[in-house]
């Protein structure tokens, strides 16, 4: 039986209450919208990408604690990183969030490099609540799309 504490870790609640990198970026090099039709969550990601580096990122929108915390944690995790490293984090995160057909996840323990990242590992508990996975991945899918657009 999945426990609520697995979902609402303290660090997640902290990001929800005090989201990082919140706001718009007037000098953004790209602006990308994400949308979860099921819950109505909405997200806008502003990026400044220069010389293969994600120099700055800001977010606006609304959603549940999981989607808000995930996007806030994401912004902290990728800000200032080289694009290939950002993509690598995205891939690892999405693997962590993947359920197989039989309902099991690949990574009951968080991925090593996410664990090394610290905070993101706190989101590993979300896979125990399959309906919430979409909440956690919205920001990441939107970021992936933003990078595709930024580098197209």
């Amino acid at each position: 039986m999945a426990n609520l504490d697995d979902l609402y870790r303290e660090i997640i609640l902290d990001h929800y209450r005090s989201p990082r990198n919140r706001g718009e970026l007037v000098e953004a090099t790209s602006r990308t919208e994400g949308f979860n039709p099921l819950c109505g969550d909405e997200l806008v990601i502003y990026l400044i990408v220069r010389d293969g580096v994600l120099e700055d990122i800001k977010l606006t929108g609304h959603g549940c604690s999981i989607s808000q915390a995930s996007s806030s944690m994401m912004s902290s995790a990728v800000k200032g990183k080289r694009l290939e490293d950002v993509r690598h984090v995205i891939d690892r995160f999405k693997t962590m969030m993947t359920l197989h057909d039989d309902g099991t996840a690949d990574a009951p323990a968080p991925e090593p490099d996410l664990r090394s990242d610290g905070e993101l590992a706190a989101l590993a508990g979300v896979v125990k609540f399959p309906v919430r996975i979409k909440c956690a991945t919205l920001a990441w899918n939107t970021l992936a799309q933003a990078l595709d657009e930024a580098t197209a």
Binding site: L4, L13, E42, C64, Q68
Partner: protein, 411 residues
């Protein structure tokens, strides 16, 4: 004291033996779907175990039995809603949504010309909006909305102006988000006074209060079996017999034809014209048992009981949870059903529902397929609790306990 006893209904309803997170289930999602009592489940079981066969055209005994069950359901559900002549007025579809699509694609497409207006309300379910938008895109009709006031009731001040040029006024008897009950007979009369027909979405009302399509003087009524203690996979479309007889077919296939040649086809008469293919037979058996069960409870009793519980719920939600919980719907129990859309300050509906689940409390977060209404009140979603004839006062107590826990968790 009324003889109605929700505990008996609960004993009849097997899902209530479920334990969720070590707590008995507190089912507060009847607006999404009601829980079927054992007689409904058993009617389908019995059907499949002893009578199953395809309907119509059969000569052998089980085929006749299946046909009798299916046609019996048509008759019984017709009588249940006061239909004068069920055999010529009741069409079985798969859900309310298909019923509205049938209305739009058959009656609508045959009747409406570019510029013709269909009037709906801002509190409609998407089932009574999207089919009209589809006609708008395909045939240039106009879709107009009756606004909703800040007190969550229809704003009827401009109704006469809004009804000008309207061919159909299609509105809900009760909002699945606000709980608001609309004055159906009055709205139908207004439509008729302007030469418009009137369609009623009875999905939220038919299992909770007596229905009389004759007293409403309605032209079309749509609802679903699964919201009146019946099974999934079965919707009902009622139409005045003369209107139904004039409607062209919608889905094409077996059972709805009088003749098919290699160069065309001739549709059949009566409701079967709209029932192409093998119909939901076992589901009809289930609906019949649901109608009988609800009739046994007495819709007057159910409605009176749910009204009392609604009064209590509104009180508890106004006072029991501090000032962090706002009910998006009428604050008093007058002309209102047991649906409570909650906006909890600082806690997203998704999170509310998640915490409530820990207490065994089943509520639904989201836009409840009523996005125009959500937008009207500046919300993306609510957490909705809703009652059925098996709901208890104690359910409301657990709801309040769980809401307080959610508020505490998110500080």
């Amino acid at each position: 004291m009324s003889s109605f006893d929700p505990r008996r209904v609960r004993i009849d309803t097997p899902v209530f033996s479920r334990v969720i997170n070590d707590r008995p289930i507190v089912y507060l999602d009847s607006a999404s779907s009601t829980l079927p009592p054992r007689p409904v489940i058993e009617a389908m079981d019995r059907y499949y175990s002893g009578h199953h066969a395809n309907v119509h055209r059969g000569v052998y005994q089980t085929a006749n039995e299946a046909t009798d069950i299916y046609e019996g359901a048509r008759r019984d559900v017709g009588h249940f809603i006061g239909a004068p002549d069920p055999r010529h007025e009741i069409v079985f579809t798969k859900n309310t949504t298909e019923s509205f699509n049938l209305l739009a694609r058959s009656w609508g497409a045959a009747t409406l010309r570019p510029g013709d207006v269909v009037l709906v309300t801002e509190m409609e379910h998407h089932a009574n909006i999207v089919p009209w938008f589809q006609l708008q895109a395909e045939r240039g009709i106009e879709v107009r909305f009756v606004p909703v006031r800040d007190d969550f009731r229809l704003d009827l001040t401009d109704l006469d102006r809004l009804l000008a040029g309207v061919k159909l006024f299609s509105f809900t008897a009760m909002s699945n988000v606000l709980g608001t009950r609309n004055p159906v007979a009055e709205l139908v009369a207004a439509a008729h006074a302007h030469g418009a027909l009137a369609a009623v979405d009875a999905a939220q009302s038919v299992g909770h209060q007596p229905t009389d399509v004759g007293a409403w003087d309605a032209d079309f009524v749509c609802f679903s079996a699964h919201k009146m203690l019946g099974p999934t996979g079965l919707g009902i479309f009622w139409a005045r017999a003369d209107l139904l007889e004039a409607m062209p077919p919608f889905l094409g296939g077996g059972g709805m034809i009088a003749d098919v040649r290699t160069d065309g086809f001739v549709p059949a008469h009566g409701p079967t014209r709209f029932e192409a293919g093998t119909p939901p037979i076992a589901e009809a058996a289930g609906l019949r048992a649901a109608v009988r069960y609800l009739t046994g409870l007495g819709l007057d009793e159910v409605s009176r009981y749910e009204h009392e519980l609604t009064e209590l719920a509104l009180e508890l939600l106004a006072s029991g949870v501090g000032d962090r919980v706002r009910v998006i719907g009428p604050a008093d129990a007058v002309d209102r059903g047991g649906v409570f859309s909650l906006d909890v300050e600082g806690v997203h509906p998704h999170d509310v529902a998640q915490v409530l689940d820990q207490f065994g409390v089943c509520v639904r977060p989201g836009h409840h397929c009523a996005k125009p209404l959500m937008r009207r009140f500046g919300l993306a979603a609510t957490a909705r609790a809703s009652l059925g004839p098996y709901s208890l006062r104690s359910d409301l107590d657990v709801l309040v306990e769980a809401l307080l826990a959610a508020i505490k968790l998110f500080g």
